[in-house]
């Protein structure tokens, strides 16, 4: 009984213990599964869940035909894990130090710009001090030490194999990419460049900057539960946000034309040694910029060549006084509105004219000539007189209708709108100076656009440098923005002004050097004094702008030389030959058939030469006749005066001397 009782007590005790045990377990389970479920679940999830950010690639830049201008080149970044190196070497300081030295020497040998001492210093730093959330300083293990960045892919691949072979611990290779400019200096001022900072591309200038939003890739992410080896566990929950690459940009630039322009610009720089030079080739119908080059320039792959001078984008940012290349705008407006006809006679005052108290000079002394000759001989006085005849309001309308004082619409930032004062701020001289390109500042792009308007019959067209943007099947074509109404009210205006401009490249014009065999070239020279510190200097912008073939232009080409130091400083001599060289090659590239045969062209040239000669002979004869008449008049006058004088002398002598002397004098 006693035994049975004690058994019962023991059993009861065991039951109680078991119940207590189960109770405890239940309590813990309640705590873990219900009370602290959220906190613990989060903790666990944090341990085995990985979130990785995926980065797309930045959009690339191509020319119209798909030739790569700016691309991405794969590189690798090499990083070390100092804390891990220490652990993997059994926390042996000497062993770790030896390994760090070996790694540092190894990478110095194979990578550019890597210093062994610097890498050793970084790898030896096993811990770093940081401030935690409570503001207290704590020491943490250092798991990240940069050994080399932007290592070429092929080199990095070789290094990776060698690292594996040499069993270096704690060295890892991460893929990245850098911006690559395979065409080096070509179009570099327009394309711009990016810097790479904190795993991001920071656009600095050019298209890289103005179209940064479209080219930037959208980062994605992937959240997954990982296995012990770090790989995602496939049968568990995972989520991902897609990564989107940036849009690829296709420019309106044609690489072969760009190469032609760049090459000829280099030749011009060798010939006239200017401070700077630029050229721009535009399709007048669509406003497409086909080529745009400038000197000095820089190589974006070699930042050492980059200076403020060489990296400036003069085409869109520089505003200069254009000089005589403004004349066709004023004259075309005057022709269009009926102020003058091509044969109207303008007195160019033989090269000096005073207006509003200030003298205006011509380079060549010109007398009374037709409006056609005013353009052909680039008479400042003739143009100023036409402008004065039109009045300030009409001149303002004329220049504004050609887009001066406004941006060209090109997808380049920043872009200047030039300096063109509003009408109410004009002074008495403005009307005689703006028309010859003084007192007004315009950008090369504005000039090119304005000449496009003359070439296309007066239709205002926005310049385009981006043709389309593409991302996979998502293709967006940039529209051609062209006004449907011409600024010319008279349909013959275009022909009239074009004929005048053709005269510029013909015998007697200011730029016969720009004439191209087989084609009519319509153009205009410009030689503008540079304004330095608010005053006109002895330095010049020598420009030539024109379009070919004159009757149905395939392109408008502007060539400007900033301060030519060798040879002539005039637009015709400095920029004209380069215009010809570029235009000839561009016409060939575009397969434009000549308008006439060589014989016809030569005959036309010699006829123009003959006409000029005849006119000169006629003018010379006229001048000679005038001179003779003037001389005759002068002689007669002198004779009269001397006769008068003699008369008085004779009279006085008569009273004093013999009659024989007076007879002699009379004879």
């Amino acid at each position: 009984m006693t035994l049975f009782r004690s058994m019962a007590i023991r059993m009861a005790l065991v039951y109680i213990l078991l119940i207590c045990g189960f109770g405890y377990v239940a309590r813990v389970l309640y705590d873990v599964q219900i009370a602290r479920h959220g906190e613990l679940f989060e903790k666990a999830q944090h341990t085995y869940t990985t979130r990785i950010e995926t980065h797309g690639t930045r959009g690339e830049i191509f020319d119209f035909g798909g030739s790569l201008l700016v691309g991405n080149i794969p590189t690798m970044d090499i990083v070390g894990d100092p804390a891990n190196i220490f652990i993997l070497n059994g926390k042996d300081k000497d062993k770790t130090e030896t390994e760090c030295r070996l790694i540092a020497d190894f990478f110095e040998k194979y990578c550019e710009n890597v210093s062994s001492d610097e890498v050793f210093r970084r790898l030896s730093r096993r811990t770093f001090t940081t401030t935690d959330a409570n503001g207290e300083k704590v020491e943490r293990d250092c798991h990240y030490a940069v050994i080399a960045t932007g290592v070429k892919y092929e080199t990095a691949k070789m290094l990776r194999d060698k690292v594996k072979e040499l069993s270096f611990h704690g060295v890892s290779f991460t893929s990245s990419y850098r911006r690559n400019y395979p065409k080096d200096t070509m179009l570099s001022n327009i394309l711009g460049l990016t810097n790479f900072s904190a795993d991001k591309f920071v656009p600095v200038q050019g298209i890289e900057r103005s179209l940064n939003a479209a080219m930037t890739a959208t980062s994605g992410s992937m959240v997954y539960e990982r296995a012990r080896n770090g790989r995602p566990v496939t049968f568990t929950n995972s989520s991902s946000e897609p990564t989107l690459d940036g849009y690829d940009i296709y420019l309106t630039i044609r690489e072969p034309l760009q190469a032609i322009v760049e090459e000829e610009l280099d030749h011009m720089c060798e010939r006239v040694k200017p401070h700077a030079a630029w050229a721009i080739l535009v399709d007048p119908k669509t406003g497409d910029v086909l080529a745009a080059a400038q000197r000095p320039t820089f190589n974006p792959n070699d930042r050492a060549t980059m200076t403020p001078e060489s990296s400036a984008n003069r085409l869109s940012e520089l505003a200069i006084e254009p000089g005589s290349i403004m004349k066709p705008f004023v004259v075309s407006y005057a022709l269009d509105r009926g102020f003058v006809t091509p044969n109207s006679i303008v007195d160019c005052e033989q090269g000096v004219w005073k207006y509003a108290g200030r003298l205006l000079h011509d380079t060549h002394n010109v007398g009374k000539v037709s409006v056609t000759e005013v353009i052909k001989q680039s008479s400042n006085i003739g143009t100023a007189k036409i402008s004065v005849m039109m009045g300030a309001k009409n001149l303002d309308n004329a220049l504004r209708s050609f887009g001066f004082g406004q941006k060209t619409g090109i997808q380049l930032k920043p872009e200047t709108s030039g300096i063109f004062r509003p009408l109410e701020k004009w002074d008495s001289l403005s009307v005689s100076r703006f028309c010859i390109g003084q007192g007004i500042a315009v950008s090369p792009l504005q000039l090119a656009r304005a000449y496009c308007m003359i070439a296309n019959g007066g239709y205002k067209v926005d310049l385009r440098i981006v043709d389309r943007i593409e991302r996979g099947d998502d293709i967006r074509v940039m529209p051609v923005v062209r006004e449907t109404k011409s600024i010319f009210t008279n349909p013959t205006t275009k022909k009239m002004i074009t004929d005048m401009m053709i005269g510029v490249t013909e015998a007697g014009g200011t730029c016969t050097e720009a004439a191209i065999e087989g084609f009519h070239v319509a153009g205009k020279t410009g030689t503008a004094q540079k304004v330095i510190n608010g005053a006109y200097s002895n330095r010049y912008y020598a420009s030539f702008v024109g379009f070919v073939p004159a009757e149905d232009p395939k392109f408008v080409l502007l060539v400007t030389c900033d301060d030519p130091t060798v040879g002539s400083r005039y637009g015709g001599s400095a920029s004209g030959p380069t215009f010809k060289a570029i235009a000839e090659r561009a016409l060939k590239y575009m397969y434009v058939q000549p308008q006439m045969s060589r014989e016809e062209w030569l005959a036309e040239r010699s006829a123009a030469q003959k006409a000029l000669h005849e006119r000169k002979v006629r003018e010379d004869a006229l001048v000679q006749a005038r001179r003779e008449a003037r001389d005759r008049q002068l002689k007669e006058q002198q004779a009269k005066e001397s006769a008068k004088k003699t008369g008085t002398t004779v009279a006085s002598r008569r009273t004093t001397s013999s009659p024989s002397k007076s007879t002699t004098i009379r004879r």
Binding site: G71, P182, P479
Partner: protein
């Protein structure tokens, strides 16, 4: 009525017969064993499938890595090709090998009719048939395209 209730129904079961009781227990064990076997098979199949999936995932990761490597190599080659294609480089080669090359004379060129019946110079291909996205221009310059 299932087999179990049928067998345990006192009305139908013959009282005091031991062999029938043994038969009932054995049947239950066999059925339990079969169920366990099915569960075991299902478990093994699941483990095998998981293993297979893991294996495939590893294979996929390896292939993706290979594709990535190949893409990287292609990108490197494209960059190299483009720099070799640059006019500067071609010009250098022309001078280096003294090649008698010159630009084609326009009179040597004849235009060909394309299938759509359009006539265009090669430099103008692509310019005629496309439709402009009028919204793209504004969005592009204002940075709205993403």
């Amino acid at each position: 009525m299932n087999q179990f209730t049928k067998k345990t129904n006192p009305a139908e079961a013959e009282p005091g017969t031991e062999p029938q009781k043994t038969h009932w227990v054995a049947g239950l064990i066999v059925k339990m064993a079969m169920m366990m076997f099915v569960i075991f098979i299902a478990f093994c199949a699941r483990v095998h499938l998981n293993d297979k999936t893991e294996q495939l995932a590893r294979e996929k990761a390896r292939i993706l890595e290979e594709i990535r490597e190949k893409r990287t190599e292609i990108q490197t080659l494209v960059a190299k090709r483009e720099s070799l294609r640059s006019w500067d480089n071609i010009n250098k080669k022309i001078n280096q090998y003294n090649l008698a090359l010159r630009a084609v004379n326009p009179s040597q060129v004849r235009y060909m009719k394309r299938f759509e019946g359009q006539v265009a110079a090669p430099s103008q291909y692509g310019g005629d048939t496309r439709v402009a996205d009028t919204s793209a221009g504004a969005a592009l310059t204002s940075g709205g395209i993403q």
